[in-house]
Amino acid sequence: MKFAVIVFPGSNCDRDMYYAAKEVLGEEADLVWYESAGNLGNYDGILLPGGFSYGDYLRSGAVAATSEIMQQIKEHASKGKPVLGVCNGFQVLTEAGLLPGALMRNEKLSFMCHFEDLIVTNNETMFTSLFQTGETIKLPIAHGEGNYFCDETTLKDLQANNQIVFTYENNPNGSVADIAGIVNKKGNVLGMMPHPERAVEMLLGSDDGLKLFQSLVQNWRESYVVNA
């Protein structure tokens, strides 16, 4: 499986994402500078890393969401191909309208960087099929604006379509319904604030994030075999 890790000015988790895909998973991966739009068609999966794209100017993710490469990413997503946005990547996906809702300043205003326990609330996605629904996993968070917000109608939609994939066991940031990660209706775009790419080997304190990437690769292989 071939991954593109999209690098915006100010991205800072791109190397971690690349390392997880390339070294730990052993799949193909490229760091793709945002101005290199036009060649994403060669990739099977798109990874939007964390960081502070464009210095979080205006709103976190807002400026990156208007960049030309987002058109490529939207096309990729519309074909049902996987897109994973972590942290700032999640913010970019909401700002670009690929996922509903918005990420706001943490309820207590401070930047938080520590491990959180998450509950896998939906294992019927291409990103989570190797987890058990209800399973608790440990992933690091590192954000100042991870407070997920959406209106009640959107929340009901998310719940009705089983789009909430991860919730916090002890909500650290004030997110609506303890939401840590959601997918789009089709299930091929996942946005989450916690960092699975920073939890891919025990040396990092947890390898619970690995299964997310492994699920993705396994599901891609299976669909590739069927479609080939």
């Binding site: 807002a62 700002e95 205003l109 917000f149 004030g174």
Partner: protein, 83 residues
Amino acid sequence: MRNVTVYITLKSGVLDPQGKAIQESLNSLGYDEVQSARVGKTISLQIEDGPNLEKRITEMCEKLLANPVIEDYRFDVEEAVQS
């Protein structure tokens, strides 16, 4: 040329933790009368006058300047004074 000021505020139903912190700070300075504070931002634009000016500013607000999920916006348009 027009001077346009865009005012962006969090929607009324959306919690504003910064505003809350400011309100509490003002209260602790002795300004007990302050019941609420909300933080927003202003963006000043200089825009060439043209047809559909207001419509285009509205689009700018919807597409980029404000996030309609969490924010409200309004804007004032003034004739730019030639210097």
